[in-house]
Amino acid sequence: MSWEVVIGLEVHCQINTNTKAFCGCSTEFGAEPNTQTCPVCLGMPGQLPVLNTVAVDKTILTGLAINATINLESKFDRKNYFYPDLPKGYQISQFAVPIVEHGYLDIPNKDGDEKRIGITRIHMEEDAGKSMHEGLDAVSHIDLNRSGVPLMEIVSEPDMRSADEAIAYLKQLHQLIRFLGVSGADMEKGQFRCDANVSVRRPGEPFGTRTEMKNMNSFRFIKQAIDFEVVRQIEIIEDGGAVVQESRLWDSVKNESRSMRSKEEAHDYRYFPEPDLPPLRVSQQQVDAIRAGMPELPGQLRQRFEAEYGLSSYDADVLTQTLELAAWYESLVAAHPVDPKRCANWMANELLGRLNEAGSDLSESPVSAKRLAELLDRIEDSSISGNAAKTVLDAMMESADSADAIIAAKGLKQVSDTGAIDAIILAVMEANPAQVEGYRGGKDKLMGFFVGQVMKASRGTANPGLVNQRLVELLKG
């Protein structure tokens, strides 16, 4: 009998604010340790937290984008635990009444259909500091710059049935967060981290006992960790054992997870209402204003690109992966409106391909949308062939010269002069009498040979349409 996998995900996402959740300390990444702290985020006695209004607005915006209910009154609670990177001894979080509840995301599933993943809640909380243990013997080092940085915790329903579905959900959520501009969501910087709750059961039975894989910040590790955990749980149950509810840590070096049971024992968070913070009230007008300012979401943008520009769903998908890509594409189309599909091909295949090979991304592109459009204009007016344009683009990646200057310098201007092309064709025919005879004897396939020879003789500058047309004519004899 088969096993069914059940996965629920908790994503901690750093809200991109200038300052921390409850004090005016900078959140800038990479500062010297402990230079962005104050008595509030250091947990010194007598300090009072004051909530960052931008963190509230961005959490509401995220809630609206996942079709959730915004609670006009929500509360903060203290989550108590003891750890040196948590100087207050508690984390300010939202436990009983979060600001966002009951949302969902639709993810593509493997039948090309969509599957709805429920999102239980999004609550605001503050991050802890950073502990460092590596290379230290009897001590740990603590940097509290991150202490108090605002987070959204996005908690899904246990709606995913495979590691692939979990990754599809995470990627969709990650893209959405980036589009909304509510978080940098840079996984390497820990701005988007995931806990995965995993259990297995026989189809139709109640949920099995779950384990929680903590704090993963790469899609690849999350998939590996879930796959590993599923196998581990099935083996335990098939051997007659029982899965123990616990937190586990993924070791990406050893490719295995290990129990964090030692810490689990101490997990009794004793939540209680945060006495320093009165209820958070937001007005319906505030929510409506945030909704009115919501940017176009990835799905809407993808559909618009297909409808407005006639792109394939594949190209539309590629060009809407990030807002930056989409904006770049639209500025290219604005500069070369005659053929949006050509714009998509040249941007997605040629430009991004070259950037990818060079290990850089669009923001570092030496070729602006305007310059690329000038090149596409030359294809449009038949000044150069598509092939020659690739050579020009190669050169444009290396220099600031315009497409026209490069075309002139390299002598790549397409020859569309019938007389010049006829001269080349006649020379090729003279050099290949046997093939001419063969073609005239009925070997139509030799046409390809002649086209190739003529293009080669013209160094790719002959207008291919005209070459074909003139070849048919002249080979008739």
Binding site: N34, T37, C38, F82, P84, V139, H141, D143, R270
Partner: protein, 92 residues
């Protein structure tokens, strides 16, 4: 209500002698017992509240107002090194 004094002490990182545990257990229980009198009050129709004052939370503009005061702030720390707090070893 019986209180597990040892557990509470462990969670709070407070070391208790057996005598202290024996002394504080009944004290904590009697405090809880006193507060439990509230359970007898009929609260039908009273909305739950988490805060005694009927005020909405004041909020703060997202503007950096604090500068680096590391040296002053680290004065009370028992041990620092290169700007980092040094604590007894902790590891997951």
């Amino acid at each position: 209500m019986e209180i597990d004094v040892r557990k509470v002490a462990m969670l709070s990182r407070i070391r208790l002698t057996d005598e202290e545990a024996a002394e504080f257990g009944p004290q904590l229980s009697s405090i809880i017992g006193y507060v439990e009198q509230l359970a007898a009050i009929n609260t039908d129709g009273v909305p739950p509240t988490a805060h005694p004052h009927d005020v909405a939370m004041p909020q703060r503009a997202d503007v950096v107002t604090n500068s680096n005061r590391r040296d002053a702030l680290q004065t009370p720390a028992p041990n620092t090194e290169s700007g980092l707090y040094v604590v007894p070893k902790v590891i997951d």
